[in-house]
């Protein structure tokens, strides 16, 4: 989006279209489909039910608790009878789905329809224990004098971007939310993009809705509607289709793109603009590698190319390694290129190990320019060349395949041997032995109780 952002915008500051066209109520929005544990459900109906039953049950529980509280006069008695809590599956739900499909919108629309206020916290807030408690617990737990005023308008708690909780910044956030789910006086809806292992405690016991993206036709209708209301006619239906396809179900992305296009310069080819908006990161790397080997003629050009891309250089030089033989095919050039690349790798290792960041320019120039300009005798490769993903990434640590691992486990039950010794010495022997006769293969695999996959290792 770089090029658009740089252009001075004459348009007065206006609301982001995403906010402008956010649906006010459930009736006017296109509801995404959803699943719970693999069964299709009606999201609007389920959520409305969830909130209605929550308030019904919390009311009865509060009354019971009031009695308990009245009954528990002394501290001793208080310990004996605890207040009742609602089970977590009745106090909180989780909406899971890719970004921009309307998870947040649906919560706001729901609140609007049920005449409720939304208390929102999202990844932009620092969610340490303290700040979260300040923000939520006060509103959630206290039912005092304010109750009489707020009774008319209930509250709904939205914890957006739950999966964005991580690191030291949000220390202690997960336990706070878990506490909150146990003690809340208001229903909680959480939104998340992906399942995260570290949030397992949070996911336990609550209902998880899988929300699916809207179908493209639906998105198309909405987009056309917006274009009509903004009086934009320069976009053909084909272009619109292209934008929608590029966004892959992300309605918010589509709307943002439309706004960006409407603000971009009119002289620019619209298609070009769209392609600029969405350059897939892998596509970008492919193009970059091709340009590096096929277009670059000077060190500066190579520099410009790597500077311009936002591909992580950690990866980039591995791509160069993988694709080098495709573009250079004379051994002399190859050796020269690898001389530079291996030096670059060594330098990079020292930078990482000892923080010699002053060496970084050498690394940059060596792995890009140094490699691309090693072409002396190889004929320039013209036309399309297949660029491949770095298939082979050595991290220095060794790892066993699952078949090898399970086979060595079975072996270890009968014969104590280290996994390295097993793969380097023992397995090759077994392979020779099994190749010498089929009977051996059968007796050995029977003895170790190998399955088909493990047996393959012996062939």
């Amino acid at each position: 989006m770089g090029e658009i952002a740089k252009k001075p915008t004459k348009v007065a500051v206006e609301m982001p279209w995403v906010e402008k066209y956010r649906p006010k109520s459930m009736n006017e929005m296109a509801l995404p489909s959803a699943k719970v544990e693999g069964h299709r459900v009606d999201l609007a109906e389920e959520l409305t039910n969830f909130i209605r039953t929550f308030f019904k049950e919390i009311k009865s529980i509060n009354e019971k608790n009031k009695k308990i509280r009245a009954y528990n006069r002394t501290a001793v008695e208080k310990e004996q009878k605890e207040e009742i809590k609602l089970p977590p599956e009745k106090t909180a739900v989780l909406l899971e789905g890719p970004p921009g499909i309307g998870k947040t919108s649906i919560v706001y629309a729901l609140a609007h329809d049920l005449n409720m206020d939304v208390i929102e916290t999202n990844a932009s807030d620092t969610r340490t224990r303290d700040t979260l408690e300040k923000k939520l617990k006060e509103t959630v737990k206290s039912r005092g004098i304010m109750d009489f005023i707020t009774e008319s308008k209930q509250k709904l708690i939205l914890i957006d971007e739950v999966d964005g909780i991580y690191g030291t910044k949000d220390r202690g956030a997960v336990p706070t939310i878990v506490d909150l789910i146990g003690s809340t006086q208001f229903p909680i809806i959480m939104c998340s993009n992906e399942y995260k292992q570290s949030l397992q405690n949070l996911y336990k016991n609550i209902r998880r809705f899988e929300v699916h993206p809207l179908p493209d036709e639906e998105v198309f209708k909405i987009a056309q509607n917006i274009l009509k209301r903004e009086h934009i006619s320069s976009l053909t239906p084909e272009d619109l289709q292209l934008i929608i396809k590029k966004n892959m179900g992300d309605l918010r992305g589509v709307i943002n793109d439309l706004q960006a296009i409407s603000q971009g310069s009119v002289s620019m080819d619209i298609k070009e603009l769209i392609l600029n908006l969405h350059r897939d990161s892998t596509e970008e790397i492919f193009a970059l590698i091709r340009d590096l080997f096929q277009k670059v003629n000077t060190l500066e050009e190579a520099r410009n190319l790597t500077d311009k891309s936002d591909v992580d250089y950690n990866f980039l030089y591995k791509w160069v390694n993988e694709n080098l033989p495709t573009f250079l095919n004379v051994n002399e050039d190859l050796a020269n290129a690898y001389e530079n690349l291996s030096l670059a790798d060594e330098i990079f290792g020292r930078i990482r190990k000892n923080q010699y960041w002053a060496l970084l320019p050498y690394f940059y120039d060596l792995f890009a320019g140094g490699v691309a300009l090693s072409r002396k005798r190889s004929p320039p490769t013209k036309g399309f060349r297949r660029v491949v993903f770095p298939r082979y990434i050595t991290s220095g640590s060794y790892s066993l395949t699952s078949a090898e691992r399970s086979m060595i486990d079975k072996l270890n039950a009968k014969y104590e041997i280290s996994s390295i010794e097993a793969v380097q010495e023992f397995l090759p022997f077994l392979r020779i032995l099994c190749n010498s006769s089929r009977k051996q293969l059968k007796t050995i695999s029977d003895w170790l109780e190998l399955d088909a996959k493990e047996k393959k290792l012996l062939k």
Binding site: N321, N331, E332, L334, F348, I420, Q424
Partner: protein
């Protein structure tokens, strides 16, 4: 019925160990005395150090063997999971006493995951202490300093038997803390008796001259000799010299040679493909692969100048791999240089 002979004829007690009577006698004395210092067993590859150590622990610990015994391999790196596990516990939060940062406890990951949990636990049952065996101890490298502390702190609770092929790789403070056992190669007389007893049980026909050759071919490694014997037995019960040589050929890793041939033909893409396959099949690290390549290169009939040149290439690649991050790049670089070298031969 165990189909693999080297497992089938594994000694089941110290008495069954082939040869090395002196060492066995000493170990048996220790068992009688019920006490020993940390042990360091030194001997060349495959002579049976680990087998002796584990049988010794078994007899020392008696019926409390399984609970008080552990064998770890210092040369097997931690898996991703284990490394994460070590990281997870390496923070001890001191936030309760007012600091936000929390304090970091720095035990080397390997010791933390593999050694500490075992040595910290109390002895179970009626034995004086537990026994920890560390195989290929020299591979521990810089972690040896940390290990030395553990030897001191938990020494009363757990005795360690360190096993190594090269004593020079072990730091002095550890050597001085151990009683050293030299495990020699098995002598020919005992070797002959073992092979003859196996041949009788498997009804093989083998002559003494053939056993002599087998002894030489296996370089004192009993498991290798038994492997070879089993391989020969597949094609009939009588074992001749020709058969022995023929099967011994199969043992040599000729895949390194074919890698070298590809580079000498100047075919870089294929050579790289094969190198990657070798690494993923045999789990060599870059250093091991370079070493094997150099060994194979030295067998080529080349002039002394070419030899030095090649040595330079391999050394350079190995040196860079030490600091570099992506070993594949260093391996590819070496292969590309070899490809070029072959063109100018």
């Amino acid at each position: 019925m165990i189909p693999i002979w080297r497992i089938k004829y594994l000694p089941k007690s110290l008495d069954e160990i082939c040869g090395r009577q002196e060492v066995i006698k000493n170990l048996k004395n220790i068992i009688k005395k019920r006490n020993f210092p940390h042990l360091l067993m030194v001997g060349s590859e495959g002579v049976g150090k680990a087998t002796i150590a584990s049988l010794f622990s078994k007899e020392f610990l008696g019926r409390y063997f399984t609970a008080n015994y552990k064998l770890i391999y210092a040369d097997v790196p931690l898996t991703e999971e284990e490394r994460n596990l070590a990281k997870l516990g390496s923070y001890v939060s001191t936030s309760k006493i007012g600091s936000i940062a929390g304090k970091r406890i720095t035990t080397p990951a390997f010791l933390k995951v593999k050694v500490k949990p075992f040595v910290q636990l109390k002895v179970l049952g009626d034995v004086p202490f537990k026994i920890l065996i560390v195989k290929n101890f020299e591979a521990l490298g810089s972690n040896q300093q940390g290990f030395r502390r553990l030897m001191e702190i938990y020494g009363t609770n757990c005795r360690m038997i360190l096993i190594t092929t090269k004593i020079s790789g072990i730091i002095d403070p550890i050597v001085s803390r151990c009683q050293i056992f030299l495990i020699s190669q098995v002598d020919f007389q005992s070797f002959k008796e073992l092979i003859i007893s196996i041949s009788q049980q498997e009804s093989l026909q083998i002559d003494v001259p053939v056993i002599e050759v087998l002894y030489k071919l296996s370089e004192g490694k009993i498991s290798r000799a038994i492997d070879l014997l089993q391989l020969c037995s597949v094609s009939g019960n009588s074992i001749s010299l020709e058969k022995l040589y023929e099967n011994a050929q199969k043992f040599q890793i000729d895949i390194i040679r074919s890698l070298l041939l590809l580079t000498l033909n100047g075919n870089f893409p294929k050579a790289r493909e094969l190198a990657r396959k070798i690494i993923s099949n045999y789990k060599y690290n870059a250093h091991e692969l370079f070493k094997l390549l150099l060994e194979e290169l030295n067998k080529l009939p080349l002039s002394k100048y070419a030899r030095v040149k090649l040595l330079n290439f391999v050394a350079d690649a190995d040196f860079r791999a030490l600091d570099g991050i992506d070993n594949d790049i260093q391996i590819s670089a070496l292969l590309s240089k070899l490809c070029l070298f072959s063109e100018n031969l």
